[in-house]
Every structure is written in structure tokens, then in C-alpha cells.
Amino acid sequence: MPSSSAPAARERSTSIPAVLARVVLLGTVLAVTAFTVPITIAQQQWMWLIVILGAAAGIFVLYSTRRFIPGKYLFPGTALLAVFLVTPIILTVGYSFTNFGDGTRGTKQEAVDTIVASSVQQSEDSTWYTASVATTGDATEGPFTLFLVDPADGTVLRGAADEPLEAVDPSAVTVAGGAVTDAAGYEILDAREVNAAYDTLQELAVPVDDSSAVRLQGPDQAFEGTTVITYDAAADTLTDTSTGEVYTVGTVGDSEYFVDAEGERAFSQSWLQGVGLGNYERLVTDGKIAQQFAGAFVWTLAFALGSVGLTFVVGFALALVLNDPRLRGRRAYRSILLMPYAVPGFISLLVWSNFYNRDFGLINQTLGLDLNWLGDPTLAKVAVLLTNLWMGFPYMFIVSTGALQAIPGDVMEAARIDGASRLQTTAKVVTPLLLVAVAPLLVASFAFNFNNFNAIQLLTEGGPFLPGEYTRGGTDILISMIYRIAFGGSGADFGFASAVSVVLFAITGVLAMIQFRFTNVLEDVN
């Protein structure tokens, strides 16, 4: 609340529009919070609940009073940075210490439940009944009783969890359309009620004899079957009741599984566990990865530098030529040169990939060559750079044209008066001036190409791979190699992929630092 000791400030900020704006802002925040908090609670998204409440509290504290002026300016950027940049990084680092992936997503309880639920087996020659679910109590809580009609002879049976199947006096029930529709003393559930209570009903097994029980299948059918696997919570073991075999928890690789007596994995279901530095260890100790990392890193640098260099040289040269006022139809030329930029990137890449086909590709057929573009590691590198040149030069062309037109004419005039030739003017005056303007863009372009996954994946998929080499192909950059390591082989392994991402994050961090130094140097020149 405004303090009485600052009348001048009060006068300044209590204009009606300012108050209105503040009320509208805080009201909106309140409304959004009130709307999203129940949703996040319902979905058990605790992290986002904390984020939302924290952000709302922050906004109220900062913007409802006249204090915290710097905070008012810093808050939006900082909050967004924390939510969208810092949080994913923290999560990634967190996951890198777990075995999170296919087969290890849930909790141990979920894994046990799945194993047990999946072990229901139909008895030999199981009778299938038309079933009706009835209750003497509540439609969602039970207790439930099954009324069964044997489709073969129309006998009506009744049973519940602790009441074995018994025949029912036909006069006590009404049977219509092959199913019991009314029973004295019971309320029959309709299909939707059965569906709502289905999780409870799945556990309902009406004993037939020692080994099998009648279970509900869908809203209106029942069959005779048995749960083969049972879980003993006290001993933490699974037992196969048909063979008597007992499975205990044991460690296979980095993760715990239920294993048989020989220690072999008996069920593929596992659960989320911490594995410490296991993922990092694997990254370092897997000889193939460590060995290929350096090669991939060198080619990634070469690819990124080559792409930036080539596109810039070609783009700049074309921009210089088309900047000459003596050239007629410059507009038309410029539009044509921008064409590659107008075609969606993934289409160009796929089309180019077909152009390079050895036997049926446009390039070899038109030029009458027999070059194995995508099968030879060196030629494939050339192909990748050529394609990236085609994709990237229009951008450099636009940027350079813009920068050229921004260079004041009197500077060039001064150079000419001082006796500089055209070439000298271009090299000594125009280029340095232009570089100042485009250097940050070149750095950005380098950073983009350093992680240009699409260019590699859509054109060569990292290939060609030499015989016996499966980790790194001839044109693999770091990101495409890492993608293959993390997701290419045995399904999704997010824990390992996170560890790899953390390492890559560190590397790009260092590179970014170097890049910033580089831009600073350029700026210092002027």
C-alpha cells in the first residue's frame, strides 16, 4: 500500500489508467492461477503447480506495490528463463542419473501390477457366460455379485468374491435377451456403471475350484481363468503358480528386474531407478563412442565452418555483383536467387538426396558421371556441403545486400578520391564495414550449423558407414551421431540420452564462450 511519506510518488502513479492497468493485470493473473491450479492438482503436476504459484506470488508482490522497481523489470525475463531454460536443463541433468527409458518408466508397484494383470490365463475349454454385475450396496464401491447365464443351456448362476458359483432359482431373476436384467434384492449395474467400476471388478474372481475363477470380461461377459503369477509383498517375490517357480529382485545391467534362479531376467518390466554415474560411465567406457567422438567433433567443426564460409563467400559475392547500379534487372535476379530460400528445407533436402543417387540420380545422369556420391565418405561430405551451400547462400545474400546498402556512399567516395581502386575499396573499406554488421549473424549461423540435425539426417542419415562401423557414419555430426546412439538402437533410453545431452551441453557451452570472445574481438577492431 502506498506509504504516506511519499506524496510525490503517489501523485505520479495514481493516474486512473495506471491503476486500471494494474488491476487488470493482477486480476488476469489471479484468474489464470485460479483456473490452472485445480487442473495441475488433478493431473498431479506438482512441479508446474509450484511454478504457477511461485510466479503468481512473485507478480503480486512485485506489481501490487510501488516498491521493487528493479524487480519489476527483471522479473518477466528471469521467470521465463527459469521456466523454459533452467528447468529443462535441471530435469535433463536429473534424468541423466536414472535409468529412465522404455521398460523403466513407472514405479515398482506399477511393474508388479502389470506383470500380475498380464498373467491371467483362460482355463482349457473355459465356458464363456453372459454376465450381469449386481450389487447390494453402492454402484462404484460394491460389494459386487456376478449373475451369469450359460449361453448353452440358459442356466443362471450367481457368485461373488467369497461365494463360489451356485445355481439360482430361475424365478428369483428376470432373464431378458440372454442376460439377467433384474434380481430380487440386487441392483443390476448398466454398462456405463460397470465401466466406471471396472478396475475394482477386474479384481473380482468368483472361485470355481482351487485353481480357477470366473472373471468379468468387458461389461457383459465372463470367462473362467486364473492368475498365474502372484506377488508376495513381504518377501518381494513373484511366484508362478503353474510351475512353482519363484522370481526375486536382482540386478541386470544397471537396473533391477525380477530374475529367475539363474539370475536371468524373467520379465521385461522394470521400474525407474537411480543409477548414479552409470550412464556417464557407459559413455566413457564404451570404446566405440569415445573413439568416434573426436572424429565426429572434427567433422562437425569442419561442416559448420565450411557451411558458414561457403554460404557467406557465395552470398557476399552475389550481393556485391548485384549491388552494382550498372546492372539492369537487379530486382529480378535477386528474386531468382532467393528461390532456394523459399522452398521448405526438408523438401529440398529430400530432393537433393535423390539427386545424388548413383544410378538414377539427376546429377550423375545429367553429367554422365558414375560418382558414388552417398556411398563414398569423401564425396558424401562434399555432397553435404554443396547441398548446405545451396540451402544457405540466399540467407547470406539477403544479409549482405542489406548490409551493403547500409554502408554510406560518402565512405566509398572518400576512398575513391584517395585513389583506391575498385578492388581496394571492396577489400579494404566495404568488407570490414560489412563484417562488423554480419559477424554476429555468421556466429549465429555457425551455432545453427553445429547442431544442424536436419541437414544430415534427411540427406545422408549420417552415412555412408564403412563396413564394420555402426556408431559414426562418414557425414555424422555430433548431434546426429548422438541421436543414433541414444535412440537408434534398443528403443528409447532417456537416461543415457540425457547424460549424452549434458556432455554435449557442456561442449556447446565452451564453444559459445569462444564465439563470444570472437565477436568481441571483431568489435574491438572498430
Partner: protein
């Protein structure tokens, strides 16, 4: 996560692009299909490959765009007959990971339509509920369908269609429309004077799926068999003696120019439909293009090498699966029973998405009007269901790569051995 996201975008883009290209190149008959596909794909692209919000209905089914389109009508009719509302939602790409994550968080569908080889991964993620089939089902469904959906002794899905590789012969380019051996095929293809004898996609990265018939005929196998008859991940056949002799056979075909790394999944079918190849190894998905091109073809089983094992391609079975965490498990089970106990739903889906059916009654019904599709379903009986164990994921890249390298002239023995080592290492980790 960043990496996966990029891939979603890429694939989303790919589908839109492919559909757009198809729309440009289609003729009068196929252009309606193409524009439908384009529409569906751009819906998917708009969502950047993310899973849709679960629809509000008594039964929610997720499927890829083609199958969703075919299922919509029959599912709605079934719902109406049972007093339920049914929503069929398209997940344009990445159906499997989207389903696994959505299901785990409780926002997933009640059922999905998918290929049987997903079972292994879905089961290890606890995403599926087993289905209990009504008595008599096994007599009405082709054995290959039942084998495919049975995993670890439990039935997880209700099969409705099967796909496998067959040999298409262009009758104008060869006098032997159904060669009994690969050698006969090569000879007849050469004699016919076609530009290429055989169009079998290899590509620079290899294609272990399309190479499987030749690989098995040469003596190779992927996994041994456990006592229960399931694939055994501790016995990897790649790198073994059989795989090497298969490699030698494949390498010889590569040296002869019959197999080429320049024939890829992108151009294999078009080479055949353009009359530039005498034979094509492909599945039922090639039929539409072949019909459009108006080529006189004969279909037969993919032949093996002379005097060696028979060629055994993979069979892929499409089935309905019940989600473990769906909101309406009872209705999902009810729908599964309905598909299992009568061919009606599969029959109603057929005109919109022509796939070889596994229901025997339906096979008989369609035999007169769609002989090719029924023939593929019959040929699939001799195929092997693609192994559904999660370890299968480790096979594709190294084996395909090794085969492509061998076609390109690499020494079969060390190449196959290294592929085997790579696969074993990936499975072990």
C-alpha cells in the same frame, strides 16, 4: 527431449511433404485419396506430431491416419448399436511413444490399432491389457494372426489384417512370371532385357526388412527359439555361420548388379511401375501403384536360392490392442471381443484400407473380387511373424548396414561378424 522434438518436426514435415508430392503427382482416381491424406497429414503437422487431446467418448481409439479413416465408420456403427459414443482419433506420427506416455499419465486412449511387433515394447512399458478371446476365435482367424499377437504365452491383441513381402513380376519383361529360385529369376530377368533385373530396396543404410527373404534363404536367422517357441534374445544369429553364408550369397548378387545400393525405399516401386525392373519385392502397399500403372503382373512367393533354405519374409499383423490405463476398459474389451467374434468390423474397414484380412471367413468372401490381397494373406502363412521382443530394435540398423555394405562389395565374413557384435553389445546394454 530437444532431440526427439526435432525429430517429431522432421517427421511431421515429411508426411506433409510426401502427401503434397502425392497430391501433385496423382491422377484422377488417386487424387482424392492423396488430398485426403494431405488433409490428415496437415492436421498432424499442425500439432507438430504431438498426441491429440483425448476425445470425450465412451470408447476412444487411436490409430494412424489411414487406419483411423477406415475405422471411423465401422466403429461409429458399432457404438450406435451398443448405445455408446465412439471416437477414432488420428495420431499422424509417433503413435507408439505418444501412446506410451499418454497412457502412463492416464490421458491415453482406450484402444489403439497397431502392428504386432510393437507388443514387446508396449508390454515392457506396461501399456497393454491382455485380451481374452471368446471360444472359437482361433478357428476363425488365420494361424499367422494368432501367433503374431501371442507374446510370452499371453494374447495381447485382436488381429484383423496381415502384410508380407511377395514377388511381383512384370509379365512384359520376363517369360518366367513365378521363378522358383533366385538363379532362375536372374536368368529370366536378364533374358527379358529389362534395365534392372530385380527391384529390392537396399539403400546406403540397408533395409533388413526387405532383405529378410534372401537372408533366411542363405541360411541366416535373427534370434534362436526358446523352449516355449518365442524368439530368444540370448541367441543372436547375426554373425553366425548361417549369416555369413547368406552374406556371401547376397554379396554375389551385389557383384552381379542384381542388388544395388542405389535402389532405395524411395524409388523401388517406381522403378518397377515405370517398367525399368522385371521383378519387384514388396508388400501389398505396392498394389495401388501397380494398378495405377496398369502393368500386367504376376504375384508369387519370394524365391530362395537354388538348393538352399526356403525364403521366409516377415509377416506384420495389424491388430486392436486394449490400453492398460484407458478410462473405459470395459468398453475396450467389449469392442475387442466384437472384432474377434465376427468379421463385420474388418469387412467394413476393408474398402477404405485394403489390407489382406486374417479372418478366414472374410478371406473367402473377398477371394473373388480381390484375388491378389487374399493371395498375399495366404502367402503370409509361410512367413515368420516379425519378432516382437524389444531386443528386435537392436537388429535393424546393424544388420541392414552390414547387408548394404556387402552388396556394395564388403567382405561378408568380417562384416557380418561385426554386425553380430554390435547387436549383442546393444542388447546387453
Amino acid at each position: 527431449m530437444q532431440i526427439r522434438r526435432k525429430n517429431f518436426l522432421t517427421l511431421g514435415g515429411l508426411t506433409v511433404g510426401a502427401a503434397a508430392l502425392a497430391a501433385c503427382g496423382g491422377d484422377a482416381e488417386s487424387s482424392t485419396d492423396a488430398s485426403d491424406a494431405a488433409g490428415a497429414a496437415s492436421d498432424g503437422g499442425g500439432e507438430e506430431g504431438a498426441a491429440p487431446e483425448r476425445a470425450d467418448a465412451d470408447l476412444v481409439i487411436w490409430a494412424d491416419e489411414v487406419k483411423a479413416g477406415a475405422l471411423e465408420g465401422p466403429a461409429a456403427a458399432w457404438g450406435e448399436a451398443n448405445g455408446l459414443t465412439v471416437a477414432v482419433q488420428t495420431v499422424a506420427d509417433q503413435l507408439q511413444p505418444n501412446f506410451i506416455t499418454a497412457n502412463a499419465s492416464g490421458n491415453g486412449p482406450d484402444m489403439i490399432v497397431a502392428a504386432h511387433d510393437w507388443i514387446g515394447n508396449l508390454v515392457q512399458n506396461g501399456s497393454l491389457s491382455p485380451v481374452q478371446l471368446p471360444p472359437g476365435t482361433e478357428e476363425t482367424i488365420a494361424p499367422i494372426g494368432m501367433t503374431a499377437v501371442t507374446y510370452d504365452g499371453q494374447v495381447y491383441g485382436v488381429p484383423y489384417a496381415v502384410e508380407t513381402l511377395v514377388l511381383y513380376a512384370n509379365n512384359d519383361l520376363t517369360s518366367v512370371p513365378a521363378p522358383a529360385t533366385v538363379e532362375e529369376l536372374v536368368e529370366a530377368g536378364r533374358a527379358g532385357g529389362a534395365e534392372n533385373v530385380l527391384s529390392l530396396p537396399v539403400g546406403e543404410q540397408g533395409d533388413a526388412y526387405h532383405m529378410e527373404p534372401l537372408y533366411t534363404s542363405g541360411g541366416g536367422y535373427l534370434f534362436g527359439t526358446t523352449a516355449e517357441g518365442d524368439p530368444d534374445p540370448s541367441d543372436v544369429g547375426v554373425g553366425g555361420e548361417g549369416s555369413v553364408s547368406a552374406g556371401e550369397k547376397i554379396g554375389a548378387l551385389g557383384a552381379d548388379g542384381v542388388l544395388k545400393t542405389s535402389i532405395t525405399g524411395d524409388n523401388a516401386i517406381s522403378l518397377f511401375t515405370d517398367g525399368k525392373a522385371a521383378y519387384l519385392v514388396s508388400g501389398p502397399w505396392a498394389l495401388a501403384d501397380i494398378r495405377t500403372a496398369g502393368i500386367d503382373v504376376t504375384m508369387s512367393a519370394v524365391p530362395g536360392f537354388d538348393g538352399l533354405d526356403p525364403a521366409v519374409p516377415f509377416a506384420g499383423v495389424n491388430a486392436f490392442f486394449v490400453a492398460s490405463q484407458g478410462a473405459n476398459p470395459a468398453f475396450a474389451q467389449q469392442f475387442a471381443s466384437a472384432v474377434a467374434s465376427s468379421p463385420d468390423i474388418a469387412e467394413q474397414m476393408f474398402p477404405h484400407n485394403e489390407l489382406p484380412p486374417v479372418n478366414l471367413e472374410l478371406q473367402e468372401k473377398l477371394a473373388a473380387d480381390y484375388p491378389e490381397l487374399v493371395q498375399i494373406a495366404e502367402l503370409a502363412e509361410d512367413a515368420d511373424p516379425m519378432p516382437a521382443i524389444p531386443e528386435m530394435a537392436a537388429i535393424w540398423q546393424p544388420l541392414g548396414q552390414a547387408q548394404a555394405n556387402i552388396v556394395g562389395g564388403a567382405d561378408p565374413e568380417p562384416t557380418m561378424t561385426s554386425a553380430g557384435e554390435e547387436i549383442t553389445a546393444q542388447i546387453g546394454s
